[in-house]
C-alpha cells in the first residue's frame, strides 16, 4: 500500500516534466514569432537607446490576441514570453496539488502563500 501513495519522487518527476514542457512550448512560440518578425521586419531599423515602453499591440491582452491572428511576429513572441513567465507559476500550482496528495498541509499553506504573493505582484503592477 505504501507504494500506492503519492511520494516526493513522483512530485519531482511531475515538476521536472512541467518545467520542461513549459519551456519547450513557450520557446517554440517565441521562435515561430521570431521568424515571422525577422521575415517582416528584418531590414527595418531599430533603436532601443531610449525607453519608450512597448507598442500597444504587444502590451494589452486584446492587442496580443489580435496580433496572433494577424500573424504579427512580436505579438506571437510576447505570447510565448507570457507562457514562459507562467511556467514557474504553474509549477508552484502543481506543487500545491502535490502537497495536498502527500497530506502535507504545512507545505500546502507555504505554497499558497507564494502564489498569493505572485498574485499581489500582478495586481500591484496594474496599479503602478
Amino acid at each position: 500500500m505504501a507504494n500506492k501513495r503519492f511520494k516526493d519522487a513522483d512530485m519531482q518527476s511531475i515538476i521536472g516534466w512541467i518545467l520542461r514542457a513549459g519551456v519547450i512550448i513557450s520557446m517554440s512560440v517565441v521562435f515561430i514569432g521570431g521568424l515571422l518578425y525577422l521575415y517582416r521586419h528584418g531590414q527595418s531599423h531599430v533603436d532601443y537607446s531610449t525607453f519608450k515602453g512597448v507598442p500597444d499591440f504587444v502590451h494589452s491582452a486584446s492587442g496580443i490576441i489580435n496580433g496572433i491572428f494577424t500573424l504579427r511576429g512580436r505579438a506571437i513572441i510576447q505570447a510565448g514570453v507570457i507562457l514562459l513567465i507562467a511556467t514557474p507559476i504553474v509549477r508552484v500550482v502543481f506543487s500545491a496539488i502535490g502537497f495536498v496528495l502527500e497530506k502535507d498541509y504545512l507545505y500546502l499553506c507555504i505554497t499558497l502563500l507564494v502564489l498569493l504573493i505572485i498574485l499581489a505582484s500582478m495586481l500591484s503592477g496594474h496599479a503602478g
Partner: protein, 278 residues
C-alpha cells in the same frame, strides 16, 4: 542597426551568457545586461526586462534536469520562495523610482560579489547539527551521490530566510536571478551542501523572476524584439551547460574565465553609472 544584425549579435552573446551562467549557477543575467547596455547601447529598462525573461528560461530549463535527479530540495526551495517572491515584488515596485545610473552602480557591485563568490573554494561540509525550526519545516533531507544518498541538516533557517528577502529584492530591482546571493544564503548561513544549494537556488530563481516579471510586463519593460534572441540564446547555452555540469565534476577554469569577464563588466557598469552614461 538593422533588426537582423542586432538579433544575431544578441543571439550569440546570449548563448555564451547562458552557458557560463548555468555552469557557475549564477545565472545568465549578469552577462546579458552589460552586453545590452554597454555594447549595444540598449536602455537599461529594456535590458532588465529581457534579462528577466532569459533568467526564467535558464532556471526552468536546467531546473527540469536537476529536479528529476533528486538533488534539489523542493521543500527548502518552496519555503524560501516566500522570501524571494516577496522581495522580488518590492524590488520591481521600487525600480521605477530609482535613477538608472544608481541601478548601474548597484549592478556592478552585485557583479563583483558574484565573481568573488564563484571563485570561492567549495568545501563540501555536511552539517549534522540539528535545528528545531529546520526539523519543524522538514528541511533536512538527502541527496544522491555515487556512494549512495547523503543525509544533511539545515542550520540557521531564519538567517537564511532574511538573506533571501534581500536576494529577491535585488533580483526584482536588477532583473537578474541573484544566484550569488541565494547560494551565499544557503551555503554560508544555512550550511547546505554545495550541490543542493546550487540546484535549489536554480529551482527558486524562476519563481522569483516570474514575481517581478509580471510587474515589468505591465510596465512595458519586456520588449519582444529583444526578449526573443535573448531567451532563445540563453536557453540553448543553459542546456549545453546543464549537460556539462551533470556529467563532469570540475569546471575550475571556467569559473576563472567567468570571474575575469564579470569583473571587467562590473567595472564598466560602475564607471558608466558614475559618469551618468547609463
Amino acid at each position: 542597426m538593422s533588426v537582423i544584425v542586432l538579433t544575431l549579435i544578441i543571439l550569440i552573446g546570449s548563448y555564451f551568457a547562458g552557458l557560463l551562467g548555468s555552469l557557475t549557477g549564477l545565472g545568465g543575467g549578469v552577462v546579458i545586461i552589460p552586453l545590452l547596455t554597454l555594447l549595444l547601447k540598449v536602455d537599461i529598462h529594456y535590458a532588465i526586462g529581457a534579462s528577466l525573461v532569459s533568467v526564467i528560461a535558464t532556471s526552468s530549463g536546467s531546473a527540469a534536469a536537476y529536479v528529476k535527479e533528486g538533488i534539489t530540495n523542493i521543500r527548502l526551495g518552496m519555503f524560501l520562495e516566500i522570501a524571494t517572491t516577496a522581495g522580488a515584488m518590492v524590488g520591481a515596485l521600487i525600480a521605477i523610482y530609482i535613477p538608472t545610473h544608481y541601478i548601474a552602480v548597484l549592478f556592478g557591485l552585485i557583479l563583483i560579489l558574484s565573481a568573488v563568490m564563484s571563485l570561492k573554494k567549495k568545501a563540501e561540509i555536511i552539517n549534522q547539527e540539528p535545528s528545531k525550526l529546520a526539523e519543524k519545516l522538514k528541511l533536512n533531507s538527502t541527496y544522491p551521490s555515487v556512494k549512495g544518498p547523503v543525509a544533511y541538516k539545515v542550520k540557521n533557517v531564519s538567517g537564511g530566510f532574511f538573506m533571501m528577502l534581500f536576494a529577491g529584492a535585488i533580483s526584482g530591482l536588477l532583473g537578474i536571478g541573484s544566484g550569488a546571493l541565494k547560494v551565499l544564503a544557503m551555503d554560508t548561513i544555512m550550511r547546505i551542501p554545495f550541490k543542493v544549494s546550487t540546484t535549489t537556488s536554480n529551482f527558486m530563481i524562476g519563481v522569483t523572476a516570474a514575481a517581478s516579471a509580471v510587474v515589468y510586463l505591465q510596465r512595458g519593460y519586456i520588449d519582444p524584439g529583444l526578449s526573443m534572441p535573448v531567451a532563445i540564446g540563453v536557453l540553448l547555452g543553459a542546456l549545453s551547460g546543464s549537460k556539462i555540469l551533470v556529467h563532469t565534476s570540475s569546471s575550475g577554469w571556467l569559473r576563472w574565465v567567468f570571474a575575469v569577464v564579470v569583473t571587467f563588466l562590473a567595472s564598466q557598469m560602475i564607471y558608466n553609472g558614475f559618469t551618468g552614461k547609463i
